[in-house]
């Protein structure tokens, strides 16, 4: 086990995604499914347009494809043998093998070099689960201590049923999608700068009743605003100074309110994911990193991912260029003195 470490010792080595099928137009889909025209208008006003769906792929199929994409982006598949921890994340409750069957047995059956010492899923925090999984990966790698150990975090979310389930909110369309994120300590594309998870557990039953649904709609943006404030305090990094804020790919109108309340320039938010990809739940982190975030980190920027949920869990994750030793990529006065190594703190 390392004697001295910070969360910035860990980060994302590479990411892969799989969004099944050709992009579908929400307007055409909604018309075919008989969705109320006013709701379609609301969706379009919220910049929702394209999404993915394919009912012929299982969660395992989608994760296989995301891992293949990851292998292609890494340039080899040798790293699979170094995966010590395998973590599965899903927001959609049914995105799993029928119990007692396990997705992990399928993954290990597919990849004969993939032999992690520990596998488990992180569930029941909806779209915030992916940030928790990143934290678990860092904790386990820290405890492990082997510098070449890797954690592979895979996600899959599939929507079942008709448009009622695919369009669960006015601000987004649920997309089918999977991702694979490789977490480690070497060869990082970006390192972790801080994790904040806020919990408002009064909403633990999710949108199971009209009252809860109304409470979620009323409070989520307020909870997100508070979480981002707390996260800035924790990291010493003002969100307004981020190269980009990557929200989950839904709820455009909420993000406008948050931007205004926190005095964050609107252009800092990456909204193209809402329009181009749809809300693929746990995969949104990898999708937005690949589409936008990693290029900004490559150019020495730091970025902030923020995930909401319909259960009262909000999570924020700061990602920085690798090299910041303190994990405090600070913009607050005096904080820069904590780190004299990374490219931004020494700028």
């Amino acid at each position: 086990m390392r004697e001295m470490f910070t969360i910035a010792d860990f980060g994302i080595v590479e990411a892969g995604i799989h969004l099944p099928g050709a992009p579908r137009d929400i307007a055409e889909y909604a018309q075919a499914e008989g969705v109320d025209a006013a709701r379609v208008e609301a969706l379009l006003a919220g910049r929702v347009r394209w999404f993915h769906m394919d009912e012929d792929q299982s969660d395992a199929d989608m994760i296989f494809a995301a891992i293949e994409n990851l292998c292609a982006r890494v340039g080899n598949r040798k790293f699979l043998a170094q995966v010590t921890y395998l973590i599965y994340v899903h927001s959609q409750a049914f995105s799993m093998a029928a119990p007692p069957e396990s997705l992990f047995s399928a993954l290990l059956g597919r990849y004969d070099t993939l032999r992690p010492s520990l596998s488990f899923s992180v569930e029941h925090a909806a779209c915030a689960s992916i940030v928790m999984a990143m934290e678990w990966a860092a904790r386990l790698l820290h405890q492990d201590g082997a510098t070449d150990a890797l954690a592979l975090v895979v996600t899959s979310d599939r929507v079942f049923g008709n448009a009622q389930w695919r369009i669960r909110q006015d601000g987004g369309v649920q997309s089918d999608g999977a991702s694979a994120l490789l977490v480690g300590t070497r060869g990082l594309r970006c390192c972790f700068g801080g994790v904040t998870v806020s919990t408002y557990d009064r909403l633990h039953d999710g949108p199971a009743s009209p009252a809860n649904e109304a409470a979620i709609a009323r409070t989520t943006w307020l909870h997100t605003r508070q979480t981002l404030r707390e996260h800035s305090k924790l990291t010493g990094m003002d969100a307004a100074h981020a190269a980009a804020i990557l929200p989950i790919n839904a709820d455009y109108l909420f993000w406008l309110k948050i931007a205004e309340a926190l005095h964050i320039p609107l252009e800092k938010f990456y909204f193209d994911g809402i329009t181009q990809r749809g809300h693929a739940c746990s995969a949104d982190l990898a999708v937005n990193l690949i589409d936008h975030g990693l290029a900004l980190v490559d150019a020495d920027g730091w970025i902030l991912f923020c995930a909401q949920s319909n259960l009262g869990v909000i999570a924020a994750l700061t990602l920085m260029p690798p090299g910041c030793r303190t994990g405090r990529h600070a913009t607050a006065p005096g904080m820069q003195e904590d780190c004299a190594e990374c490219s931004i703190c020494t700028r």
């Binding site: 470490f5 910070t6 969360i7 009912e55 792929q57 299982s58 969660d59 599965y88 409750a93 049914f94 995105s95 799993m96 093998a97 029928a98 119990p99 007692p100 069957e101 396990s102 997705l103 992990f104 047995s105 399928a106 290990l108 059956g109 992690p116 010492s117 520990l118 596998s119 488990f120 899923s121 992180v122 569930e123 029941h124 925090a125 689960s129 928790m132 934290e135 678990w136 860092a138 904790r139 386990l140 820290h142 405890q143 599939r158 929507v159 079942f160 049923g161 998870v197 919990t199 557990d201 909403l203 633990h204 039953d205 999710g206 949108p207 199971a208 319909n310 259960l311 009262g312 869990v313």
Partner: protein
């Protein structure tokens, strides 16, 4: 590795079943009959089928309105009731579950936080490990937090609960019948506390790809695979511990086949009696630990137990648990001497 400070166990009353599938609840799990749902439904259960007739069997069965989340909240509440200020030292809730709650939009760990542990910073349901997720939850409870992540809260509330609903398969003829059950324990990395009911000294956790189709493979093939898998885990733990065979007692999941006897014979170990005449699902390993603590208390001496659990889905685990004779019995479990 881990100290266990309290344990609570819950089995609802037994009820007779005549279907291989779990209880029928109207409007629950209907998504599994949509096209996309076929990937998450047992492939041997045709669209719309909510019962498959079989010989009658009895297992503990939750009431229709009793959710798995309710059962988890019950055991955690009872366990914490006798712990005084310890709740403030709980830093995480880790819940193991194989099945889906009948209110699929909700969250069990958030419910537990809301009901009993309002300030706990970290929580998760640990899944995709079949009914053998509990050892992994304990393994994660032993993982130190990141800096600033709550070293002042070393305790983890570990719970497990399952309720079997159609169209998931509850009864595997010739192999096992799953019960509805829940259990919880309070765990902390070893050494921080003077009192404990048991100490988890070591564990081996393993996931293997299945060499057959879970849903259609003969019971004997599944039993043989699980036997070899558990045996391997148990041998690894025992080799590391260098324990004398005579001092160690074996206990694990109860199945319809004499797997426990086979393992005991193969490992040369004496067995403790099964915790129940059926498989107690994800709570099984905690029930086994409870039985081992009971044996230690009855003998008034420390008892070392090799506790095993395995899932039909390819997971197996063996834990070396040192059970203390001074554990104090509660109405529904055990707590540490204060």
């Amino acid at each position: 590795m881990l100290d266990l400070h309290a344990l609570d166990l819950y089995r609802p009353p037994a009820a007779a079943h005549s279907s291989r599938l779990g209880a029928k609840e109207p409007y629950v799990n209907t998504h599994l009959f949509d096209k996309a749902g076929a990937w998450s439904r047992p492939p041997t259960v045709a669209r719309g089928v909510m019962a498959i007739a079989c010989d009658a069997f009895d297992v503990p069965t939750a009431a229709a309105a009793e959710r798995s989340t309710d059962m988890a909240s019950l055991v955690v509440g009872r366990m914490l009731a006798g712990q005084g200020g310890q709740s403030a030292r709980v830093g995480a809730i880790l819940h193991a579950q194989c099945t889906l709650d009948q209110q699929k939009l909700g969250s069990t760990p958030l419910r537990l936080r809301h009901d009993h542990l309002p300030d706990v910073p970290r929580y998760a349901t640990i899944g995709q490990l079949g009914t053998a997720g509990l050892p992994t939850a304990l393994r994660l409870a032993a993982c130190p937090p990141l800096p600033g992540g709550g070293a002042d809260r070393p305790l983890t509330c570990v719970s497990a609960a399952d309720k079997w609903l159609a169209p998931f398969v509850q009864h595997f003829p010739g192999l096992l019948s799953y019960a509805d059950a829940a259990a919880a324990c309070l765990a902390a990395p070893s050494g921080g506390h003077a009192y404990a009911i048991a100490h988890v000294l070591d564990m081996e956790i393993s996931t293997r790809p299945l060499p057959y189709d879970l849903w259609t493979a003969p019971a004997q093939a599944q039993e043989d695979f699980i036997f070899a898998h558990v045996q391997d885990c148990a041998e690894r733990v025992r080799r590391r511990a260098d324990f004398r065979r005579a001092g160690l007692r074996l206990i694990g999941d109860c199945m319809a086949v004499p797997l426990g006897e086979r393992l005991a014979g193969s490992l040369g170990m004496a067995r403790l009696p099964d915790a129940a005449p059926c498989h107690l699902s994800s709570a099984s390993a905690l029930f086994s630990i409870g039985t081992a603590i009971e044996a230690a208390a009855a003998r008034e001496q420390i008892l070392d137990a090799l506790v095993w659990t395995a899932s039909l889905g390819g997971q197996a685990a063996a834990m070396l648990v040192r059970c203390r004779p001074d554990a104090v019995r509660t109405q529904t479990g055990w707590t540490a001497r204060s």
